[in-house]
């Protein structure tokens, strides 16, 4: 007879000896925790039950136990209420009152319950990362280790990698999972160096079965953090613990990243999340509007999906605005109102970008000063960013070549033509360049 059956047999007999109310009150949520050498440890939900069973029912419990199993000589009671914790399942209707987001996050894993596979919309643009993520969640540590997911802002990287954590937790409740944005990781390293506790910091990370680090590109240039991370990475990797990373660009394109780390990142599976196509944008809008319980016609969703192309977060923002409008005015919005409501969201990119902005962002991206780009330097590390800036002016703003030349300190229009053709040509062969330009563009349109 195992412990469970034994306790059931005890309960079955005891219920005849005491009143229904007492039985329900004192024996609810009790069980045998352990049985060893004639000593039975009974787990009870609180101190009141403990006192009561010890003082009032110990004799009858022990006698019943003894009748069932002659070896049992003693029973002890211990309070153990973690066992009976109920899982929160209730979802509250959405209201406009904002909440502290920090409280929704699980303290052990850092995962936000909002992000699951169930509410992740799959389309051609993210099929590969989704499939890889799904495979990892089924079998963490065994396939695709590390899993490296990259892609632009607001395309669902965080959602996807957190969904892996969520799924692993459901599939393997015993596995220790940790999600951490890399900024937190960096400040963790910095603090532990300051407090001379770097060893315990590392030990803590080594015990995780699944380690998820978001926005790993922020590690660039932080040599000490990279070193510590390298050691943690190796330990986990050697023990077949799953590592999941995300970044806004592929490992190759992360500058100031140590080669040994880069090669490790590239050792597993790399998958990129692209911009969603129209159909997927529609699907996302439909899922989100259902989640928010708002009723919006297809015509309007189509309008939003056609006009917001590059960022899922913005899609959601537009939907929120619409939902708020409908709630306040208590009527469905028509297309004219939508156009008005979403004016800022849709038009803003066009308004924001101008030649100065491009030069500024390119300079920032390559860690240069704006005036370096404009000055007449022929240094290689300046010439190339300058050419990229010229290329962008031509392609994004359709500036004329002479105008581009003028913007860069009165250069000849042939210089501008040369720059644009050179970059266009190189883009065809050089993957890093493609990524860099993609990233710069993202920052432009953010």
């Amino acid at each position: 007879m195992n412990n469970e059956e034994l306790w059931q047999a005890v309960l079955a007999q005891i219920q005849f000896n005491i009143s229904q109310a007492s039985f329900a009150t004192w024996f609810k949520n009790t069980k045998i925790l352990n049985k060893k050498e004639g000593l039975v440890i009974v787990s009870v939900p609180n101190n009141f039950s403990k006192e009561w069973l010890e003082n009032k029912y110990n004799k009858i419990i022990l006698k019943t136990l003894h009748n069932l199993d002659e070896g049992i000589k003693e029973a002890q009671y211990t309070v153990n209420h973690t066992e009976f914790k109920k899982q929160p399942t209730v979802s509250l209707p959405e209201t406009d009152q904002l909440e502290f987001q920090e409280l929704k996050i699980n303290r052990e894993t850092n995962l936000n319950p909002r992000y699951t596979f169930e509410n992740f919309v799959v389309g051609p643009f993210n099929e590969l990362p989704h499939a890889a993520a799904w495979a990892v969640s089924k079998n963490p540590g065994a396939v695709y280790n590390p899993l490296f997911i990259y892609g632009g802002v607001g395309l669902g990287k965080t959602h996807l990698i957190q969904a892996i954590g969520d799924k692993v937790k459901k599939n393997f409740p015993r596995k220790k999972i940790k999600y951490i944005p890399s900024e937190k990781f960096i400040s963790g390293v910095v603090n532990s160096i300051r407090d001379h506790s770097i060893e315990s910091f590392k030990t803590q990370y080594r015990k995780y079965d699944v380690l998820i680090i978001d926005d790993i590109q922020f590690l660039a240039g932080k040599e000490k953090t990279q070193e510590e991370f390298f050691h943690i990475f190796n330990t986990l990797y050697e023990e077949n613990k799953q590592i999941i990373l995300s970044a806004d660009r592929p490992p190759k394109a992360i500058s100031a990243l140590e080669d040994r780390l880069r090669s490790r990142f590239e050792g597993g599976m790399i998958a990129d999340v692209d911009f969603p196509d129209f159909e997927t944008r529609m699907a996302i809008l439909k899922v989100k509007s259902q989640e928010k319980r708002v009723n919006i016609s297809d015509e309007i969703l189509e309008y939003i999906a056609t006009n917001i192309k590059k960022n899922i977060r913005e899609l959601e923002g537009a939907l929120n605005r619409l939902a708020a409008y409908q709630k306040i005015n208590n009527k469905d919005a028509d297309l004219l109102i939508i156009k008005n409501l979403l004016k800022t969201a849709i038009l803003s990119p066009v308004k924001v970008i101008n030649p100065r902005k491009i030069i500024q962002i390119v300079a920032e991206f390559y860690d240069l000063k704006e005036k370096d780009l404009i000055a007449a330097s022929r240094k290689k590390e300046i010439v190339r960013p300058r050419q990229i800036a010229m290329y962008l002016l031509r392609n994004e703003l359709s500036n004329s070549f002479p105008a581009i030349g003028r913007k860069f300190g009165g250069k000849d229009h042939t210089t501008a033509i040369h720059a644009c053709t050179k970059i266009a040509k190189e883009k065809e062969e050089n993957e890093i360049l493609v990524e860099e330009i993609k990233l710069i563009k993202e920052q432009l349109y953010l």
Binding site: A24, N47, N55, H81, F100, E102, N320
Partner: protein, 376 residues
Amino acid sequence: MNLIILKENLKRGLDIVERITGKNLTLPILNNVLISVKKNLLKLSTTDLEVGINYWTLTKTEKEGKITVPAKLILSLVNSLPNKKITLEEKDQVLNINCDNYNVKIKGQSPDDFPIIPKTETTDFIEINSIPFYKGISQVVEFSSLNQTKPEISGIYFNLQKNALKIVATDSFRLAEKTLYFKDGMDIKKETSFIIPQRTARELINITSEREDKLKMYLSSSQVLFELSFPEGNQPQIQLVSRLIEGKYPNYQEIIPQKYETQVVVSRDELISQIKTTSLFSGKTNEIKINVNVNKNKMELFAQTPEIGENKSEILVKAEGKNTETSFNFKFLLDGLTNIKSDEVIFGINGIEGPAILKPVGDTSYLYVVMPIKGN
């Protein structure tokens, strides 16, 4: 059992222990108070199996013994008796009460069926001054979550350090933190934290509010015991035992904003009265809009409901940072303001979706964080 006691003493004890009875339907004996007499002390005990209270008072004892009777009934009865000596006598599970011209018989229940209130598992205790303690708890107790799906935040969080005790509650829309600073430092080995149910906190306020005394706190892994002694010696007078809420309290410090986009210093009374006026027009959503114009040092409160009307009012303030237009639930603002005791308050706002803060000017011991209502 047979004893003589002053009405006032019996009433005071019953007042304290009666409050937690009468909420359990499955076990009727929990509606009762256990009256027991040993030597010259009368002990009253009640419990709802989450909290237990013991209360001792002096009596002239003729014969030791014990009985349980319905707590609400005996309290109502004692309240209506004249302010004189009362004789309590138990015979065959019936309690005879004699006082002046009254002769009462209450049918009791066997004391053997009454739950045993758990004793402390530890002899280590921490001593705290009761007055600042109960005042501190009452400044946060209302803000714990009523929603049981997140048990951790349904309670009040205590964080005890060498030099300070932090008392925190949040319902995920707002958060209050009170810090009690110890002048002499606490004799504790390391920082300890625990969460007590909101009920327990309320009872704690109830038992400690009247008296300036040292409150002893015995903490063990699954329960806590608070104890006040008789002024004359070590004999405990009131004991409150409670279970602790299992789980880790959220890392609440991350919620407290350290910087504000807009900072306003404003008279507390004026702000309260304007919020109250404006709130008449806030409708079902309780939403009022707060506009801060930094250049003009002006704060404007606005609320409107199409069917009722609208109100706009202005206060002169000291403002810094950016202009802002943020909506709040007026009740949440009032809840925070009424727990602040200073003449002027700091109101820090972080845009339309960031956490805002209310805190007294010149007092770092209290703060109240509140989330806005999503603006349009």
